[in-house]
Amino acid sequence: MKRYFGRKLLVYILTFVLAVTIDWMIPRFMPGDPISILISRFGPRQGGYEALQGYFTSAFGLDVPIWQQYLNFWRALFQGDLGISIYVFPTPVIDVIMRAIPYDIALLLPAILLSWLAGNNFGAIAARSKRLDDTILPLGYILTATPYMWLAILLGWFFGIVLGIFPIAGAFDQSIPAPSFSWLFISSFLVHWFLPFISLFLVQFGGWAIGMRNMIIYELEADYSHYLEALGAPTRLVRRYAFNNAVLPQITGLALQLGVVVAGALVTEVVFSYPGIGYLILQAIQNQDYFLLQGCFLFIIFGVLLANFLIDVAYVLVDPRTRMGMQGEVG
């Protein structure tokens, strides 16, 4: 188990270092001298030059050797200094992102977990009956082939505009002064949350249902299933074992899918102007706010790595083979 986590952590740490390095390198080595563009964009702003000075001396420090710049970048990172946002000038990038994070968690966590649970259960049911299989399987393939933003657009158009049931922009009604734990805010939040949630939920749901269905069928052909059948065990028991074992690769799959889901969340937020990281990224791109974009990049990587680690822990809890220090591997 130690070895298992050791390897995992090594990969995660290397990944994080690589991500930070990419984040540092891209503005410096891309063609077209992006940094000078950056500086020129700061120019006309009120107080821009001072802010720029402060950050550049610590992080960019363009007059020191490259390796020194790299170390400075890391130092700034550990101090939580990701630069100043241009889009919401002059707020530090870290603050802008921190404000967006709760919305991402509120959207992603339920969408990922619920679609995983529902997809697995539906997939298991589909594997049981030919008729259900014939309907759920094609539906699952269509859903999993659907681009996230398109489903979001369709749902927004149909339920938001045509039927007019749900709002299609923002996270809560702008007439409400500030987020609070009032009923007014919570209901407004939920109404705004529903469409982005359901479109994220549906696309993933298709993938999980197919995956579970295929895994169950595979497990039902495994030797231990055949042995149970040969001993006349009831179908219920055989299926329960198959399900329990088929869930394991689905947990691994959850880790592997995170990147795709996050990408899906980004575009879903764009469609619904939902104020999470995805919406920030769109604003950052449209306003050429590179610090903000780079900050978002690091946060996405960090979030995905953290989620991966949590999934690893969950996997060890459910698969005895990893605890035995034997095989069994997560993504």
């Binding site: 990969v11 995660y12 290397l14 990944t15 690589l18 991500a19 990419i22 984040d23 891209i26 503005p27 891309m30 063609p31 077209g32 992006p34 094609p138 393939y141 269509i142 999993t144 082939a145 659907t146 681009p147 996230y148 933003m149 398109w150 657009i153 369709l154 927004g156 158009w157 938001g160 505009i161 299609i168 052909e221 880790a255 592997l256 995170l258 990147g259 795709v260 996050v262 990408a263 899906g264 980004l266 575009v267 764009v270 469609v271 990224i281 769109l282 950052a284 791109i285 449209q286 590179y290 974009l293 780079q294 978002c296 990049f297 996405i300 990587i301 995905v304 790595l305 991966n308 993504g331």
Partner: protein
Amino acid sequence: MTASTVIEPKKRSETLYFALRNNKLRIGVLVLLFFIVLTFVGPMFTDYEPYQFVSSGAQPPSSEFWFGTTTLGHDVYTQFVLGLSSTFIVGIIGGGLGTLIGIVVGFTAGYRGGVVDELLNILTNIVLVIPALAVLLLIAAYLEVRGIIAESLFIGCLAWPWTARAIRAQTFSLRNRDFVDLARLSGMKARKIIFSEIAPNMMSYLLLAFILQFGGAILTAATLDFIGLGPTEGISLGLMMNNAVLWGALLLKVWWWFVPPGLAITAIVGALYITNVGLDEVFNPKLREM
């Protein structure tokens, strides 16, 4: 005892036989063929440029503008058929490169084993865990000019890990089989063994991997385009959806603007997935329905 030990299988003709009567394969290939033909033939039926002002904005589909016009007065049909070709280019180049890198890394790791395998495994896991789109966003945002080929190449460079893992596992199981041992004993070089002994046994597997990479590249490109970091020149299906959302197609109920591009992507990627399942059933007799 199974039937296969009793019957001498006529392998090639049998595969073809199952391929022709597999419904999933038939539907998938038919849908793909439809869109491929449309990509080549479609542009012949339009005289417009994708961003040419052809009419007052937001015209619903009519005999003159088959798919209607955008709120900006562009012809949706023209954008759609030209966007299709971008989609296929990304799929072929991005998916092809992803598969190729996956094959090289996977084969090498699986065949060599040992330290090479360890290192490649760590590399694979790193690229696997990084959300590809985040990296693509960062790269694309700093590029002043972005072309469709470059986009495809970047996508391919980040999409290979799961293919590499799958191929590594396959190679592992294949390299311990008798015929590979025989080749090794007879003094064949590693590369030669891979290409002459292992690869042919994996051809079907590689085809399946390519199909999935193809679909994945299309989806990734559409996502990137939708955020506004797609090709700076030309048109793509993702870009159409991006423009539709930016220019108020939802509020103005201009559904004919955003329905065709998304529907085409869903149909193409869905058809690829279903083709994949169908082929899997054809290649893998265990999955065939009796």
